[in-house]
Amino acid sequence: MPYQVNVVKTEEIASGTMAVHLSRPRGFEFTAGQNIDLIFPELINIDPEGESRIFSIASAPHEEKLTLAARIRNSPFKSRFARLKPGEAVIIDGPYGEFGWHEGISSPAVFIAGGIGITPILSMLRQAVHEEKSPSVTLFYANRTLADAAFFKELKYLSLESENYRFIPTLTRKNGPNGWHGETGHIDIPMLRKYVPDLHRPYYYLVGSTPMVWGTVKLLDEHISRDRIRVEDFTGF
């Protein structure tokens, strides 16, 4: 369902990455992990890929605002997104999507996110921390460089606040910044095993590009049943 909402705040959350916080319409209900369309009707016939884009909601269902985030690229849509100002009215449509927690999950959860694919996971994580009834969660978060890692401070802070949540960032450009003590390289089975000794137990949530999510499903195939995996393929978002 379409709604008109207002931009409350915008901020740069990583190199070339913007977050936009929107007012939440009355009656707009969603579950953590779902997405919405952001629509700029004035871009009809201007952006060849259309006037709307899909955004996973990064805020949690209990929060007052809707947070969206995107890497800024050189398209009319993304340029318009980057120029949004507090107080502006925009149109959203949704919520859509089936990504989210498995029902009645009590086993541990492993989140695996690449780049801006962190947004639906952040929503699920914020919800889990808020409700204090989540299973233990381990988040593996891959970015090329630390500067590219959206919401990094919050993700780290949440891990310090919650005993149930462990944050494992990894930088795929081999040399991390000075003082980087985290992981480097792509998320693979040895890296998972280092932090999740029993790979059979958890439920897995994968978000990123087509090669990333389906490549990871293939890696996990030898270790777990596919009905314990949920994916959100960000290609086309």
Binding site: M1, P2, Y3, Q4, V5, N6, S23, R24, P25, R26, G27, F28, D37, I39, P41, I44, P48, E49, G50, E51, S52, R53, I54, A89, I91, D93, Y96, G97, E98, T210, W214, V217, K218, R226, D227, I229, R230, V231, D233, T235, G236, F237
Partner: protein, 329 residues
């Protein structure tokens, strides 16, 4: 002739049938309130279906379930299911019932597929023989988890069907196989009578309607089928009612024509649930006739255009003049 409020030309309908009902007074003036359901979402008379459940319907449903087979008729909540099942026909959906894409118009479940069933082609061929079908339509979910997108299972299904009945006519409706043209060739080499791949919607709406898909990639698949020897009948289809303009429809028909495609199906989009994109406009049957005329004027051999037209609905009546010696069912 246009229905009241319908298109006079492409420009005229842009806002009415555009991506949103942006002229709605609540939406434009009263921020943070929900937009009420457009009145137009009530089904017009020409979309009301009177077909009844018949014993044949339940028999076919039972046969599919017993053989662990799926039909797109059931999985995608097709409005024509009672009629087709009642006549003993179905469009088989292979490669499981979990789709790796989350198309916003489609009712097939998005989830990680649970594996690859290599016995499925044989079971399907056995059921086709049991039902004594002479014409079969086979489609599938999208399988981005497989390197070839499931092309080998498509090819094997065609081979198994022909092994049991060399005369059977086979139409395949494939997903985009992520544009893997080697995989597309694999399906073509199995020599389906009709090779179909749906473009689904106009260029502008792709990201919204079909995330993860690319119109140019789909057109390339149709071009490859047209160039293949022996050339199958090449077919595609799309929906209207998602917010496209008449200009965009005409442009899409032109793009399709340029690929060498012979058959195009055009049907009314019906929203499967409130979790799917809403219908932006119901096209009048007269508008469907206009679309058919435009397509055929552009040189397309056959345009099947109507409110309840679906890609696989009465598929072989669309292609019978283009396939040599199609036997009656």
């Amino acid at each position: 002739m246009n229905p009241p409020g319908g298109p006079a030309d492409g420009k005229g309908i842009k806002m009415k049938s555009g991506a949103l009902h942006v002229q709605d007074p609540v939406l434009s003036n009263d921020a943070e309130k929900a937009t009420p359901e457009p009145k137009s979402r009530r089904l017009p008379d020409w979309l009301k279906i009177s077909a009844q459940f018949t014993p044949n319907y339940f028999r076919l449903k039972d046969i599919l379930a017993r053989n662990q087979l799926h039909s797109v008729c059931q999985e995608a909540s097709c409005p024509n299911i009672r009629e087709c099942f009642g006549e003993g026909t179905a469009t088989f959906m292979i490669l499981g019932n979990n789709c790796t894409r989350g198309c916003r118009f489609c009712d097939v479940k998005t989830a990680v597929p649970l594996g690859l069933d290599r016995q499925e082609p044989e079971r399907l061929a056995k059921v086709v023989a049991e039902l004594e079908l002479k014409q079969v339509v086979v489609t599938s979910v999208t399988r981005d988890d497989l390197r070839d997108g499931g092309a080998e299972i498509f090819a094997e299904t065609i081979r198994q069907l022909r092994r049991r009945d060399p005369e059977v006519k086979v139409e395949v409706l494939i997903p985009d196989l992520q544009g893997n043209m080697t995989a597309v060739q694999k399906v073509l080499e199995a020599a389906p009578d009709v090779f179909a791949h749906n473009v689904e919607t106009v260029q502008r709406l792709y990201r919204r309607v079909r995330p993860g898909a690319v119109l140019e990639r789909s057109l390339e698949i149709l071009r490859a089928a047209d160039k293949f020897h022996p050339r199958p009948v090449v077919k595609t289809g799309f929906m209207v009612g998602l917010g496209e303009t008449m200009e965009e429809i005409v442009e899409l028909l032109r793009q399709i024509k340029e690929t060498g495609t012979q058959i195009v199906t055009v049907g009314q989009y019906l929203s499967p649930s409130t979790n799917h994109l809403a219908v932006q406009r119901f096209y009048h049957p007269e508008e469907f006739r206009e679309i058919k005329q435009i397509g055929e004027r552009l040189g397309l051999a056959h345009v099947e255009s109507g409110p309840l037209v679906r890609s696989s609905y009465k598929a072989f009546s669309q292609s019978k003049n283009l396939i040599k010696s199609i036997p009656e069912k």
